[in-house]
């Protein structure tokens, strides 16, 4: 099968890979780049476990064609923290016990980060809306919502 060269930014780093026609961004990230932080949950855009940011906007990487991200900037949960310090969202998820099985967590974090980058002081309703495309089957939504709100307060204090 013909392969297509593809270049984009992955968590701030330029990467170049060859992709098959029809390959999803999720497959490209997991299988070609080796970033296992986006998860495969359904492969049909229903669960949000594969959520990544393209140029700051949240998308479902399992139903995004890899070839469409040429030249764009992709952020995944693996790039949330750059040093030993946790990102405020990660720290808040820990403090609020906002993960049980952990499988939806990377997608939740990225959905929450997209909200934060646009709106550093979201209301509860805005948080709920921001994660409305992410399914947590352990049904820990309350603690996840609380974590995102707590992260907002934490960021405010730092500023």
């Amino acid at each position: 099968m013909a392969k297509t060269p593809l270049q984009f930014r992955h968590n701030g780093r330029e990467v170049a890979i060859f992709v098959d026609g029809g390959m999803s961004l999720l497959s490209a990230l997991r299988d070609e780049i080796g970033d296992h932080s986006p998860k495969f949950g359904c492969g049909q855009g229903g669960c949000g476990a594969c959520t990544v940011l393209i140029d700051g906007e949240p998308v479902l990487s399992c139903i995004t064609l890899a070839e469409t991200v040429a030249g764009k900037s992709i952020e995944t949960a693996d790039g949330l923290k750059t040093g030993p310090e946790l990102h405020p969202l990660q720290a808040a998820f820990m403090d609020n016990f906002a993960a049980q099985c952990g499988y939806c967590t990377p997608g939740m974090l990225m959905a929450a980060k997209a909200l934060f980058d646009h709106n550093p002081d979201p209301s509860r309703v805005e948080v709920i809306e921001a994660i409305s495309g992410n399914i947590c089957r352990c049904t820990g939504y309350e603690s996840i919502i609380n974590a995102v709100l707590a992260a907002a307060r934490r960021t405010e204090r730092r500023a």
Partner: protein, 528 residues
């Protein structure tokens, strides 16, 4: 009194176990929030192959012929596995504890018994090539009559689903076709009752829908061992099941798991591991078998359907005098764990209430539905739903407050339960009292003073008179209606012409909002 040998682990454990009210972090939390927790599918092994199975399109059919000739020539195919390749192609999960007969093949050979049953497995270089080869397999089926309803399956002359159990019921202790409870004399209880309430309850199957689907990766290791990365909830149970199916000593298998992307009971069935290990045995390469989302939802075991009939005889003062159950568990085509669910159900009856006359029969029944399995309190959840609905209806029937009604019938220390065991450490009365208080639900003082303790709670039959006059209508047994039931549908309204459509309103352009855009993007046209 149980003796605890605390000295053995004295240096490993703080004896101060007062943990309530103090947050303790999960040990896997850092991995979860940094997305570095390793699930089975996060292992990428050198030269890994991919396994997919061909599933039956029929709910019940004889397999006449399987033609693999075209599939074998399909590009990328390394190996095609049939039932005959499975060393011990018949198993039942609880055979590990000598409970039940082997009744389920890993790959169907002569017959399929549910829609989606695996027949052939293809191991190929990529998932895509495995799917392409599956599409080239030709199977000649002879469809057979099907049964999808537990009551139909019990009727004489019903098609036999699973030849291991020709009566379509699981066999307990090699003799009995159901679990039974006989305590007191329900017929005498019904005769003495002021009211009889007979109701039918039903629960549909429920899919666990874990965010991570079932799957495993198996790879050859030194000395004929196989290492298996798996999503299983039951690591050693799965290991032993695989050892039996593959006819190898269990020390040849090294299972690695524990990080599970949601299970809820749906990852105890060992559906992928035997095939991925067999694939690794037959190809000498690592083999990954991950269930797709569609397969997970349609063909992986759900919580089973249950149909429950309850007949109660109740005295005017609120005491339940007799309770009769008939519980029908839909096990689907194979036993899996439903046989055990029926035992748990029987052990749970008649709920946490003291009833002098109890009669119950609990069946584990085979149908052509997808096999059922464990899920969060299985065997108890549906029957508790039925019992508590019934309790509300009974309270209504005698004109009592539903909480006070439960207090009248709650078991207390020293009561004899239907299983002929004395009730000990009971606390339902206290639970109801606290629940009432928390919910700001008023119960009368006599009920606030009740206690589960034998000496402290007063005599049960001296229940206070009901708040309002009981309903004295002599109802016929059968499906009776209470205020808790949905009202009968109103007579159809005469058809009127539809009102004219309102003029279209000018819609403001929707503001960008992240979750909503992504979510609607799946179904609408606004996907990026």
């Amino acid at each position: 009194m149980l003796e605890l040998r605390k000295d053995i682990f004295a240096d490993e454990r703080d004896d101060n176990l007062k943990e309530i009210g103090k947050p303790t972090q999960r040990q896997d939390m850092l991995g979860h929030v940094t997305a570095t927790s390793v699930y089975f599918n996060d292992h990428k092994l050198q030269g890994m192959l991919h396994l997919k199975v061909l599933r039956s399109p029929h709910s019940h059919a004889r397999i006449r012929r399987i033609d693999l000739s075209e599939a074998e020539r399909s590009p990328g195919v390394r190996r095609i596995i049939r039932g005959a390749d499975v060393p011990h192609n018949l198993n039942t999960l609880l055979s590990l504890i000598n409970f039940g007969k082997d009744d389920e093949p890993t790959l169907a050979v002569d017959k399929v018994r549910y829609k989606g049953e695996p027949i052939v497995a293809v191991v190929a270089d990529s998932q895509r090539e495995a799917f392409e080869a599956l599409a080239k397999i030709r199977v000649d089926y002879e469809p057979l009559p099907t049964v999808f309803d537990v009551e139909e399956a019990l009727k004489p002359g019903a098609p036999v689903i699973n030849e291991t159990y020709p009566k379509n019921t699981f066999t307990y202790h090699d003799i009995y076709d159901h679990q039974k409870i006989r305590f007191g004399d329900v017929e005498r209880g019904f005769a003495a009752a002021d009211h009889i309430l007979e109701q039918r309850y039903q629960m549909s199957p429920i899919e666990h829908a874990p965010t991570e689907t079932n799957g495993s990766i198996a790879a050859p290791d030194t000395n004929g061992r196989y290492v298996v990365y798996t999503s299983t909830q039951a690591l050693f149970f799965s290991l032993d099941t695989c050892a039996k199916i593959l006819d190898v000593p269990s020390n040849k298998l090294h299972f690695i798991g524990g990080t599970v992307g949601g299970g809820f009971g749906g990852k105890v069935d060992t559906v992928t591991e035997p095939l991925s290990i067999l694939g690794a045995m037959l190809t000498g390469r690592p083999v990954r078998y991950m269930i797709g989302r569609e397969e997970e939802m349609l063909y992986c075991a759900p919580r089973g359907a249950e149909r429950i009939f309850i007949k109660d005889g109740i005295a005017r003062d609120g005491r339940i005098l007799a309770r009769q159950f008939r519980c029908l568990f839909d096990s689907g085509a194979y036993t899996r764990l439903s046989s055990y669910a029926a035992v748990k159900c029987a052990a749970h009856l008649p709920g946490p209430y003291t009833i002098p006359n109890v009669y119950a029969e609990v069946y584990c029944i085979f149908t052509n539905r997808v096999p059922a399995t464990a899920m969060r309190g299985f065997g108890v959840t549906a029957v508790d739903f039925a019992i508590e609905c019934q309790m509300d209806k009974l309270a209504d029937l005698v004109g009592m407050d539903p909480m006070e009604f439960r207090l009248v019938n709650a078991y207390r220390d020293g009561d004899m339960k239907a299983h002929r065991r004395e009730a000990k450490n009971t606390a339902l009365i206290e639970c109801v009292q606290v629940a009432a208080e928390k919910a700001k639900w008023r119960i009368r003082d006599d009920f606030k003073r009740m206690s589960s303790l034998k000496e402290a709670g007063g005599q049960r039959p001296t229940a206070p008179p009901p708040v309002r006059e009981p309903i004295l209508v002599n109802r016929s047994a059968g499906q009776q209606r209470t205020v808790y039931d949905r009202p009968a549908p109103p007579p159809p309204e005469p058809i009127r012409p539809p009102p004219p459509a309102p003029p279209p309103l000018a819609q403001p352009a929707p503001a960008p909002s992240h979750g909503a855009i992504r979510f609607s993007s799946v179904f609408g046209g606004r996907r990026r």
